[in-house]
């Protein structure tokens, strides 16, 4: 995100405050004093993490503090949820299971680790699904639940989002 801030004491702080107010986490701030633009403002580039659905609220707050937002950059898949799966995962075509999540376009399988104890014993796996929003993760989870019923797989969901 690129902000335009007036070159006065306390202005940068004013610009950053809304980020913490909505529960965001600042990853980096690039603060160039030079070149100062003609109207006495300077550009600040901020990289940050935000809780789901807080972007608009934060942008509103920043605008109200008389800071100009020049550009809001690209959002990245930041939300991830891990599940434990137990069942005959390989015999029930694991790649098909993963593919069905990846094909959604709004979520993807990030990591997958598996332990196979013996033939005919159920396989245990840990799967991480990544997405932009919790809503999309829940949509992906619904798909996974459908697959689990058909393939007789037990999905163990997290109690909270962590």
């Amino acid at each position: 995100m690129k902000l335009e801030v007036r070159d006065l004491p306390g202005q940068l702080l004013e610009a950053l405050k809304p980020i913490s107010e909505v529960g965001g986490n600042i990853k980096s701030v690039i603060h160039k004093r030079d070149p100062l633009s003609e109207n006495g403002t300077l550009d600040v580039q901020i990289q940050l993490e935000l809780p789901e659905g807080k972007l608009d609220e934060m942008l509103d707050l920043i605008k109200r503090s008389n800071v100009n937002i020049l550009r809001v950059g690209e959002e990245q898949h930041l939300i991830r949820k891990s599940f434990i799966l137990i069942g005959h995962l390989l015999h029930t075509d694991l790649s098909d299971t993963v593919q069905k999540i990846d094909d959604t376009g709004f979520a993807e399988v990030g990591e997958l680790s598996m332990v196979m104890p013996a033939i005919n014993e159920p396989t245990s796996a840990k799967m991480t699904i990544k997405s932009d929003s919790l809503k999309d993760i829940d949509r992906a989870l619904d798909i996974l639940r459908d697959i689990a019923v058909k393939k007789d797989i037990l999905i163990i969901e997290p109690l909270e989002d962590f």
């Binding site: 137990i86 069942g87 840990k126």
Partner: protein, 328 residues
Amino acid sequence: MKIAIIGFGSVGKGIASIIRDKGLGITVTAIADSKSAAIDNDGLDIQSVFTAKENSGICGKIGLTPDDVISDADFDVLIEVTPTDAETGEPALGYIRRALSSGRHVITSNKGPVALKYPELKALADENGVEFRFEATVCGAIPIIFSLQNGLAGNKIKRIYGVFNGTCNYILTRMADEKLTYSQALLEARELGYAEADPTYDVMGIDAAIKLVILANTVLGYEKTLEDVEIVGINMITSESLQLAGEDDLTIRLIGEIDCEKEMLRVMPRVLPKNHTLVVQDTLNAVTAETDLAGEVTLIGRGAGSVETASAIIADLLFIRKLNGRCA
């Protein structure tokens, strides 16, 4: 205050021994087990009932039944602690109905009648101006019902969730810590007396689900039955799945959950961080209530055991005595 105890198994014995040893000023006028009953309206000598039970396997006179106790004995409070039948609630349900109708307070540790017939029994108690209390039915020694109804009065409860079954918690703890298989951990739980010979009720999540139904109906005013609870047990959990979770400092617990917004009840294994408040060890129970005023309140304690269950019953008993002044 005079009481009659129906059911002289581990919980019944626990209550009798606490009354004998603690000098609470409570007189036991009747004790019934499945085959006999002892009645003395001046007060039984508890030690001789224990001796009789030990020597002959029965506590009193053969042929006397719980019904005789309810109709003939002189008592203010019936303590009903017979084994539970989750499908019919009988014969406990009948004893409770008769005692309430005859103007006696009733305290029970029996889940069946409360889960199946709470609105009816509560109405019957109100009609007769007596108390019907059942703290021991949910999480043994933990005063969860009292806390939710009284300690958190005025709060809006948003969610209740936690570990409601000590047997499952023990099995999962042992599987995670010692890499035992599910069958090994279950066998160990049986040997230690934490699991019944038929563990279905516990490991399939039914016991936890019944506790959710009781909380939902008594504390939240819902009208739920066991069929309304989504239930997944722990019998499919593998040792490997616990190891995989452990790599990320996570573990698995059987969690019962009431979501008050959706009026949804469910019992299922869930993944939690190892340092989560609800990740308790061995046979402990732990329940969190999410409220609007108090925030999150968590109670942790022993969910089973004869003395622990008796603790909840004694607390109910002393509460009734306080409400009614010190009668007799």
